[in-house]
Amino acid sequence: MPEEYVSKVVDSIEFGFLSPQDIKKIATVKIVTPELYDKEGYPVDGGLMDIRLGVIDPGLRCKTCGGKLKECLGHFGYIEMARPVIHLKGINIILAFLRSVCRECSEILLDNEAKEKFIAKLDVLEKEKGINAKRKEINALVNKLKNIRKCPHCKSKQFKINLEKPTTIVENDTRVFPIEIKDRLEKINDDNVTTLGLNPEKCRPEWMVLTLLPIPPVTIRPSITLETGERSEDDLTHKLGDIVRINQRLFENINAGAPEIIVEDLWDLLQYHITTFFDNSTAAVPPARHRSGEPLKTITERIKSKEGRFRHNLTGKRVNYSARTLVSPDPMIGMNEVGVPLEVAMELSVPERVTEWNMERLKEFIQRGHLIYPGSNYVVRPDGKKKKITEESKEQLIEELQPGFLVERHLMDGDISIFNRQPSLHRMSIMCHKVRILPGRSFRLNPSVCTPYNADFDGDEMNLHIPQSEEAIAEAEILMEVQTQIITPKNGMNIVASIQDAITGNYLLTRNKEMKREDAVGLLLSIGVENVDSLPKTKMVTGKDAFSVLLPEDFDFISYSQDCEKCSKGGKDKCPDDLCVFIKNGELLSGVIDGDYIGEGSGHILRTLYAQYGPSKAIGILGNISKIGIRYLLNTGFSTGLMDADLTEDVKGQIKNIIDDAEKKVKILIEDYDNGKLEAFPSKTLKETLELKILEVLNKTRNKAGDVVVANSKEDNPSIIMANSGARGNSMNLAQIAALVGQQALRGERVNKGYRQRTLSIFKRGDLSPSPHGFIRNGYKQGLQPAEFFFHAMTGRDSLMDTALRTPKSGYLYRRLANALQDLKIEYDATVRSSDGSIVQFKYGDDGIDISRSESGTINVKRIVRNLCDK
């Protein structure tokens, strides 16, 4: 067997500041000149691109480690500051120490007793409440000490120390220069440094005054060569060039004995450059800019925010072996399958380890090469060398092939893949599917898994990943496959279910009285069910019989309708009105299958199947149910159109009466209001009461009209069928098309905005009647009046705004929740703990039940008892 490489694990990471000694120690070069390249374009020695700092050009070798590009990670250099300069990010430390320490004897401005007490208090705080509490306490102390004007130890006078943002420190109206600051801070002993919250080994206050500046390796600030052959340097290099240049000038001026004013000016300039080198978005400092006027991106900007190092690069990883393209539906593939275009399949690959037993097979893959499917793209040797398979290299690679090699062969049917659609809001947004190679250029997806991904086919794209190790493949297959994700952990309901046409089809199929046996057999065969023995051997069979063929033979299921208890007809295993669903021994005896039984979030039959037969079988049955629905619809034909909304003159008259009636009622209310007969609701004004009452009347109107429309529609009206089966839409939608759109509500009120006392200039002032306030008495089919259309557009815009504003808000809430809770896990002792081991719950949810394994969050006692006792 090949040698396995042992990979090491990072155990912990310590943080600290670099001391001047450290800076010198890690540095390989002292930078002395701002020049970058000489005339030949070769990096200057002692310049910012010195090749001892690492290499960014292919072909060159690093002078420090001898590594080539990508082998050498880069090395630090340093510059010596002509005069010390303050580190912007350490200014708070400097300030705190200067304020709380005596300027003469360098002792903390506390008498010994108080100091000891304080130290003891800190210890307790840190132990009990953590490091943050300790920090707060120290800040409080510093705030207290800054007002002490006499040192309790040496009795010397203390002065007020102020910070002039960003980096100038003023004591008693005279400026304290970094040299003096450094002197003062150096004198503070380690014990006092510890007391004020620093760890002197990792961070001493005087280190915040820079005497040496580390120069980052060139590898973190690579230059790019433009098409013209010109080099364009990184922002950091630009900034460092400024620093080195000014630093050199300061040196020269000091050595030449220039007047102090000039030296100080240069010193301040150096301070400015160092400040913007660390942070180019400090409030009080004008940002350093490119010649184009765009601010430079320096160290802080590189780390911060969504596009910064942390959130963009460190927590967001990019991967190979992935593909992205449009998705389109294919109800005839399995729910746990994904249709992959051939082009994608030939690009993505699965690594297969060569053994004695599969060697010949894999050799064939290599022989076919990367252009003939199913071939292979690469061969990986045990030492990690990757070789591309080409026409030329084929023969040699086949010869070399030995057990232990990896062959990256093309994707084939049945391979494991991970499928994802953004935004990945829950774990069902990334599921494992089995690959199925199909012609075409889009990923194919069973419509039943649209709900978990929240996908539709109006141009959605999705991502496909191929796991690259046995471990990853096994994990994906066992934990992430679609059938394991049928029940959502949100509330224990099923999320994978039949949708739309599949529901309509089953509704019609199980409602349908009779069909020829041949037709039923044909239907079943067309969805791939070949065993039709259980279909009654009569000339005519029912749709229910065809549906029953899909169910397991020992499946029992009873679901009573809402009115069943009142029903007097009884019927122990058959509902005479076809309302209650009775399934006995895998036979649908009565009831119509609709969205309540096979739909999302309520699919009772599905969940019973899942509980009884397990994920794999359940998903197979669900797939068949969906398929038979769609196929039945295809055979019988089903369409919807404007005809659905046709109303007879009689119904139109009824609706007109309803609307007139409502307007009359509103008129009466307004009259009552005008005459003072209206009584106000408690804690509401009279006007508010009137508005509420009118709104109530008008809202009822639409519902009434909807009822009339539904009551007068034919039973075979496709819109009604869809609404009744729970496939899509509701009777209200139809009512809005056929009868009236109804009252438009803007923020829970009628429309009241617009001109003074009226919404539009075509209305009378102060008119409280329905139509000037957003009541639309026409349906979409008749068409809307101009004013009505405008009101409708108002509410439309309002809801659009709402969505646009809500998405980032809820996204941020989600990010915060995920960040706060991501470490909580179930421990082996069944407690819920955080990463530091502190207990959050003794038993998850008080009973330890996994919601995705429960039935709507509990154990269904009733079902168990019934199953055991009713047999």
């Binding site: 694990v9 155990d11 912990s12 990471i13 310590e14 943080f15 600290g16 500041f17 990010k89 919250g197 990792k202 961070c203 942070d279 780390i303 911060k304 942390f310 460190l314 927590t315 990883k317 809001l425 952990p489 949100k490 979030g601 609701f681 408690p682 923020r747 829970g748 809820s810 996204g811 809430l813 989600y814 915060r816 929740l817 995920a818 960040n819 706060a820 809770l821 991501q822 470490d823 909580l824 896990k825 179930i826 069944a830 990463s835 998850y844 949810g845 008080d846 330890g848 039940i849 996994d850 919601i851 394994r853 969050g857 509990t858 154990i859 006692v861 168990i864 008892v865 055991l868 006792c869």
Partner: protein, 388 residues
């Protein structure tokens, strides 16, 4: 029967056991059948238990994050006619999880003791007593007497009567509320006079007097008695549990507030935990969403487990994480890095995000199990040497 059920007391959680009990009673099962039922339920319960290592926190976050995209942003909600306006929807959910110190619509449900809760008139009177009343609410006019440099307040007697207050009481309250001011009751009303006051000071006195607290519970700005299941409940806008408890007609065991911090201060952290659960479920149910109670409980427990309420913010729960990387990768990375460097903090890489950053397996789920190997032979010697 109870013996048999007691046997399962440690195995099955109480609510399930209770359900079994009622089911068994209803069906009058034999002992053997009972045993069979209980065993079956035990089996199903055990298969439904969570696995160790399950990343339950992230599941909870997902369970909230996904439905919150469907919530409406409506700030105010008119839940029927006879209700107080309260913030609902996403803004309220954010408020709860942020543990905001000043919620936008604090409210209380004040239940009364049985003897007071039946009669609408009595309840209305109590409600008036609860409402924070200022002098301007009972005054009909404020006048400045330039000659005497005093303020005269004309009192609306009926309003005062509604409050159940006499004028002498009012004078007493006012003298307590306005320091260094002489308060006298005259025929024309109440005169307020300060010592040696200039005219402009008299004017400020007038303004100050308007907002002087005279009766009721501070912060309670509106009251609304509502009938609920045969008794009257007073809904209030503004929350002040502590002072409401002092009122003798109030049944303090049933007073509810929606201000979580106030509940924590008055009733303690356990009550606050329950309050977070209640408030969050209220929002979820109101929006017609369905999120399992366990998720709400977990968030609530995480927020309160340290004895004080910590919000889901960069200063709260996330800001107090052990790991430097976990804090830095959330928000304000520079601040966290510098603080960590100051004290020389060590990140032990115990949680998720640090390991993601370092490309290492995360200690959750399948990344959790470790092998512990007893080392012997040459290796163990080597190890001992290193330790010594």
């Amino acid at each position: 029967m109870s013996d048999l059920i007691n046997e399962y007391k440690d195995v099955l959680p109480e609510p399930i056991l209770n359900e079994v009990k009622s089911e068994i009673e209803k069906r009058k099962l034999t002992k053997d059948k009972m045993k069979e039922v209980l065993e079956k339920i035990k089996e199903e319960y055990e298969t439904a238990l969570v696995d160790p290592g399950e990343a339950i926190g992230i599941i909870t976050a997902e369970s909230f994050g996904e439905p919150s995209t469907q919530m409406t942003l409506n700030v105010k909600h008119f839940a029927g006619v006879a209700e107080m306006n309260v913030t609902l929807g996403l803004p309220r959910l954010i408020e709860i999880f942020d543990a905001t110190k000043n919620p936008s619509t604090p409210a209380m449900e004040v239940y009364l003791k049985k003897e007071y809760a039946k009669d609408a008139k009595v309840v209305r009177k109590i409600a008036y007593k609860l409402k924070e009343t200022k002098l301007k609410d009972v005054a009909s006019e404020f006048l400045i007497d330039i000659a005497k440099l005093s303020v005269r307040v004309v009192i609306d007697k009926t309003k005062l009567k509604d409050l159940g207050m006499s004028e002498t009481e009012l004078v007493a309250v006012l003298s307590a509320g306005l320091r260094n001011i002489q308060v006298r009751s005259t025929k024309e009303g109440i005169t307020l006079k300060g010592k040696e006051m200039a005219l402009n000071e008299t004017y400020t006195l007038k303004e100050k007097a308007k907002n002087t607290f005279i009766s009721g519970v501070k912060k309670v700005t509106h009251v609304l008695p509502v009938k609920r299941g045969g008794e009257f409940v007073i809904l209030t806008a503004g929350s002040n549990m502590k002072d409401v408890f002092e009122i003798k007609e109030v049944d303090s065991s049933r007073v509810m507030s929606n201000d979580i911090h106030e509940i924590a201060n008055v009733l303690g952290i356990e009550a606050a935990r329950q309050a977070i659960i209640n408030e969050a479920s209220k929002v979820i149910n109101n929006q017609g969403l369905d999120v399992d109670n366990r998720h709400i409980m977990l968030i609530s427990d995480a927020m309160t487990s340290q004895g004080a309420i910590r919000g889901i913010t960069r200063t709260g729960l996330t800001g107090e994480k052990e790991s430097v990387f976990a804090r830095a990768s959330f928000e304000t990375p520079i601040k966290h890095l510098i603080n960590a460097a100051m004290t020389g903090e060590k990140d032990r890489l115990n949680s998720v995000i640090e390991n993601v950053i370092l490309n290492q397996p995360v200690p959750l789920g399948t990344g959790l199990p470790d092998l512990i190997v007893a080392v012997n032979g040459a290796l163990s010697k080597k190890k001992n040497e290193r330790i010594n």
